[in-house]
């Protein structure tokens, strides 16, 4: 038996109430206020995991976010969460957790048998061994993954809610320990809008583990309570607990995640509250009072369950009333170990302190001190049973004798404190190594807009920390325009014996010859592995990290990194300050995806845009397709029809009778101004000077490299007003493009652009009978073909509404596009459907639209083009006005040697030899039917459909030198199938274009 619950004054648990929970199938009890770790330790449960590579038994080392071993799977079903640190899991009634490593079980891990051969599995082992044969990689991955442990992701959708909250404050204080509390109080008293965050379930930080601290004559608990009360009275101060600031970004943006309900039993959670909330905080001044985390010492078998940090020993005792062992050995480098020894001895433990400093003495008779000694190795199978203590040289890290064995049931070690500098360094900077403190510290002067307060700057003594905090806050207040002078709280300055910094304790043997000494527990990285990395010539600390996996885990090296950096420096025989640290990156601790998504999931993941006529389409049973963010009707299936049957019927109706489509989503830009015409001449490939009022023209838009980037019909509404249409997906991009060219290159042009996409509904009335339908609804436009010609537009009254009618066609049939103010869209659509009923009018969607235009060889930008097709490549030289006086966008590039060369990919039509065979879009085209080493890929299929009108398949493709290959048979390869197809015109229906002119 090791750990046990003891009567301890001032703990944070409620020992009068009991909480039931289970771990690995066994039932236990704990108290409200316990973590899973403290409750298990109270029952003497120590083995929590099996290590990643060697399968060695592992136990709890720390008491908080720094814990590397005790990862558990919390909860079951949809709410299950993997890799929760037992030291952070707050206990609730009915909590159920299981270990996540060890196969087949925690007690007997098959991997540990392999671990006996650990000599053959040093760092780099995986990447050097599992290379051959390549075809076994999937198997290797499955087996290694299973062995590695780590929990399971939930297999069901997350039923809980998450949200985001934005804050704009004068001062953000990160960390609610002694210094953070002081900083928040000072900011609040100066009248500054302040936000204080702490990752723990209550404020106090280290004070919660150090009840004997004295601040302004108050004990820890009294001080915390008084500051908390003072802060609560200030309406401009907000305090959030269970809130971890996980990242700091440009200009003082800090993101933090608040765990609102993880500490509450699932059945008791409040449905109207989110589970996690992400706080996005923009602060004028950030104060980092993030404290420091204690480093363990590195020695042989330091990974045995029962070997922990000194601060963990203190925390479990003072916060949770759990004495981690009865026969305690403490080894360390500073007076912190004597604070701990006194506390544990008072709690009834038998304590021996191995102080590495020769002049150390016990404070009183309650515990024993072996001065000038350290641990060479811990011993025990499955958990720690004793230690071998060796005498140290007074100045060198060497042993001076054989040493002695001491039985114990728990070992606590302390190598000193490592400031929690992460947030300060998220901007890419590195902390400075302070040789006298043996620590990487954040600067006590902070940087512009960011103050550092307390032990994060290396001010490890409470009195120093409070004084330094006050000085830093003076600057913070000044930056906020406040001149109040701040008093420094009084705090006793105990006399301290100088620490003796040590990291890897000597065992009298060469590194690697003795028991394995672990640096990074989560990734099984030993001190010998680090020396191996250096021997293999990895000299940058970033390379050492990647080669050994030091600091990779979910703990991100909180206990291991600094030890690793120092051991690397010693192996390299370079100063620690030169070796430095690896890069600090968000997130400080893991953040759920739900918190990041907030409410932007499911239906709210991306905005869905619906046209004004949408409800009519839904009522008619249209299947919908997303085009950009728009939901467009895809096809309108009648009962019993699938996609193909519906599309065939819709296409035939459009060519033989009358059909109607909602084209409202196409981009529409109104272009006004005396220089509008000149502007169009500059941004379009074609000529606009002669386009009269009442006329439309198809416009081709090129980028500066001469490649087609968008297209659409543009109409002349008035002399100084044009109505431009773009592709649905290109609307926003084209508007940006136009504005940028105008503002940066031609600001002297008097032209204005307005997005009017949402202002107009567009109904395309298509087919030989379309005129007849329109005539029933419109009396004031002369619809006769001689009067209202193809590519004209007219204003008139349709169904009593003011409408612009554009006689343009994307199908190649007689076609009228009705543009009405979008609010009337639905009414007009229904009127068109009613008027067309006697002609069997057929609504159609995007699929049919694609087929109809492909039968006519009309391109769709983004489908038949990919940003590398010039107008000449598309056989559209007719659309390019080379004689225009202004060198329009893209013009010069058309004569670039690469754009003008022979053999470029060109748009052609393909007719498969087998008319029933529909080519696969994207299929590769070759001259050969067989695939060989010398085959050249000539191009690919861009659009491919079955044409009901022609009763056969058709396709458009881009093929190298395609326009010179008419009548040639080429071979289309896809999914292992080869289809011969003949190259020809991309116009399959009505080559002369008569049908749209009737």
């Amino acid at each position: 038996m090791s750990g046990s619950r003891v009567l301890q004054a001032g703990t944070r648990i409620d020992s009068t109430r009991t909480v039931n929970f289970s771990f690995d199938g066994r039932d236990y009890t704990g108290h409200p206020g316990d973590t899973l770790a403290s409750a298990l330790l109270a029952h003497g449960v120590r083995r929590m995991a099996r290590s990643f590579k060697y399968g060695r038994p592992r136990g709890i080392i720390g008491a908080g976010a720094e814990e590397p071993n005790a990862l558990v799977q919390l909860g079951t079903g949809a709410l299950t969460t993997p890799n929760v640190k037992a030291t952070q899991a707050e206990l609730y009634e009915g909590l159920s957790a299981r270990s996540t490593s060890g196969w087949p079980s925690l007690d007997f891990d098959l991997k540990s048998v392999l671990g006996q051969g650990s000599r053959f599995m040093p760092a780099g082992f995986y990447s050097k061994t599992f290379k051959w044969p390549q075809k076994l990689w999937p198997l290797y991955e499955t087996v290694i993954r299973k062995f590695a442990g780590f929990g399971d992701a939930p297999a069901e959708p997350d039923p809980e809610d998450y949200d985001h909250l934005h804050h704009h404050v004068d001062v953000l204080v990160v960390g609610g320990g002694a210094c953070g509390l002081l900083a928040a109080l000072q900011a609040g008293r100066a009248g500054l809008k302040t936000l204080l965050l702490d990752e723990q379930n209550e404020l106090g930080g280290w004070l919660l583990s150090d009840p004997n601290a004295q601040i302004d004559g108050r004990s820890s608990e009294a001080y915390i309570r008084s500051v908390q009360a003072a802060l609560a009275e200030m309406p401009h101060v907000t305090v959030l607990v269970r809130t971890t600031a996980f990242g700091m970004y440009e200009q003082n943006l800090v993101q933090a995640v608040e765990l609102l309900q993880d500490h509450i039993a699932p059945g008791q959670r409040q449905a109207h509250l989110p589970r996690h909330r992400m706080h996005k905080i923009r602060a004028h001044q950030v104060v980092l009072a993030t404290g420091a985390i204690e480093r363990p010492l590195v020695f042989g078998n330091n990974d045995l369950p029962g070997v922990m940090t000194v601060s963990a020993g203190q925390t479990f005792l003072h916060r949770y009333g759990v004495r981690v062992g009865q026969r305690v050995v403490i080894c360390g480098t500073s007076d912190l170990i004597h604070d701990c020894a006194e506390s544990l001895a008072k709690a009834g433990a038998q304590v021996t302190v191995a102080d590495v400093r020769h002049s150390a003495v016990a404070r009183n008779g309650s515990y024993t001190v072996m001065a000038g000694h350290c641990i060479a190795e811990a011993t025990g199978g499955g958990e720690v049973k004793g230690v071998k203590l060796v005498p140290l040289h007074p100045t060198r890290d060497e042993t001076t004798g054989a040493g002695s064995f001491l039985a114990c049931d728990v070992v606590l070690s302390s190598g000193g404190l490592s400031p929690t500098v992460h947030l300060f360094c998220h901007d890419g900077s590195r902390p400075q190594w302070d040789e006298s403190l043996a620590a990487f510290v954040a600067p006590h002067t902070g940087r512009k807009g960011v103050a550092c307060a307390g032990s994060v700057t290396g001010a490890f003594e409470l009195a120093d920390a409070l004084a330094q905090t006050t000085q830093a806050m003076q600057q913070v207040l000044a930056a906020c325009g406040k001149t109040d002078t701040l008093p420094v709280p009084s705090c006793p300055q105990p006399r301290r014996l100088q620490p003796r910094p040590m990291f890897r304790l000597p065992d009298g043997k060469a590194e690697g010859a003795g028991a394995k000494a672990f640096v990074d527990y989560q990734n099984d990285v030993s001190a010998a592995d680090i020396e191996l990395a250096v021997r293999e010539n990895y000299h940058s600390i970033e390379h050492v990290k990647r080669y050994t996996a030091l600091g990779f885990g979910t703990d991100q090296g909180k206990l291991s990194n600094v030890n690793g950096f120092v051991i690397t420096a010693r192996a390299l025989k370079r100063p620690v300050s030169e070796v430095g640290t690896t890069t600090y990156r968000p997130a400080y601790t893991p953040v759920s995806l739900g918190a990041l998504a907030g409410t932007m999931s499911g239906e709210l993941f991306d905005p869905n845009r619906y046209g004004a006529i949408h409800a009519s389409h839904v009522a008619r049973g249209a299947a919908l397709e997303p085009v950009g963010q728009w939901q467009r009707p895809w096809y309108f299936a009648k009962p019993g029809e699938d996609l193909h049957a519906a599309v065939a019927r819709e296409c035939l109706a459009a060519r033989n009778g009358v059909a109607v489509m909602d084209a409202s989503t196409l981009g529409k830009i109104q272009i006004d101004g005396p220089d509008a015409r000149e502007f169009l001449n500059r941004i379009y490939a074609n000529a606009w000077t002669q386009l009269a009022v009442g006329k439309c023209r198809y416009g081709l838009m090129l980028d500066e490299n001469g490649m087609v980037m968008d297209d659409g019909v543009t109409a002349c509404i008035e002399q100084n007003q044009f109505y431009m249409t773009t592709t649905t997906g290109g609307a926003a991009r084209v508007l940006n493009w136009l504005e940028r060219w105008h503002q940066t290159e031609w600001p002297e042009l008097k032209v204005w652009m307005t997005s009017v996409t949402d202002h107009w509904s567009t109904i395309a009335l298509v087919g030989p009978k379309s005129r007849a339908v329109l005539a029933k609804l419109c009396a004031d436009i002369d619809l006769s073909p001689d009067s209202f010609k193809f590519m004209d537009w007219r204003a008139g009254t349709v169904h009593g509404l003011p409408v612009r009618v554009f006689r343009i066609s994307f199908s190649g049939e007689l076609s009228y596009e009705l543009n009405v103010e979008s609010g009337y869209g639905r009414a007009l659509w229904e009127a068109v459907m009613a008027a067309g009923a006697e002609f069997d009018i057929t609504p159609y969607g995007t699929e049919t639209m694609h087929v109809l235009r492909a039968e006519k060889g009309f391109i769709i930008v983004g489908q038949d083009t990919d940003g590398s097709m010039s107008p000449m490549d598309l056989d559209m030289a007719w659309a390019v006005g080379l004689k225009k006086p202004f060198s329009f966008l893209g013009k010069r590039s058309l004569s670039r040697s690469d754009t003008a060369r022979e053999g470029r990919k060109q748009l052609v039509g393909l007719l498969p030899e087998d008319p029933a065979s529909v080519l696969v879009e994207g299929a590769q085209i070759m001259e050969s039917a067989t695939v060989g080493a010398q085959n050249q890929m000539l191009g690919h299929v861009t659009s491919s459909y079955h044409s009901a009108f022609l009763g056969r398949s058709i396709a458009m493709a881009v093929v190298a030198g395609g326009l010179q290959r008419k009548e040639q048979t080429l071979y289309v390869h896809a999914h292992g199938k080869v289809t011969p197809a003949k190259v020809g015109s991309s116009v399959f229906v009505d080559l002369k274009g008569d049908r749209q002119n009737v």
Binding site: Y249, N736, Q743, P747, S887, R892, S893
Partner: protein
Amino acid sequence: MFLLHCPHCGETRDEEEFSNAGEAYIPRPLQPEAVDDATWGDYVFMRRNTKGWFWEQWQHTAACRKVFAVKRNTATYEIAGTWTLAEGKALFLADMAKEQTK
């Protein structure tokens, strides 16, 4: 995510409201037909890609839709300032002159 002060709106807003519009003050050859392929290619494709202080254009797409000039350090993301295109041009030209004399 950084903050930008829009010189037209007179407001400081989150990066989310803006769209990057590339390197600033790239002059389009006034006589494209008079320059050779190499020169034209430089204009179309080559960019300074500076590590350090860089002049770029941003457009306030979620608000006034104006394009303005930003001097930003591409390595540290520090922003020296934002100006209208007209105001920024003089400063940009002064910076380029300094660079030539280095």
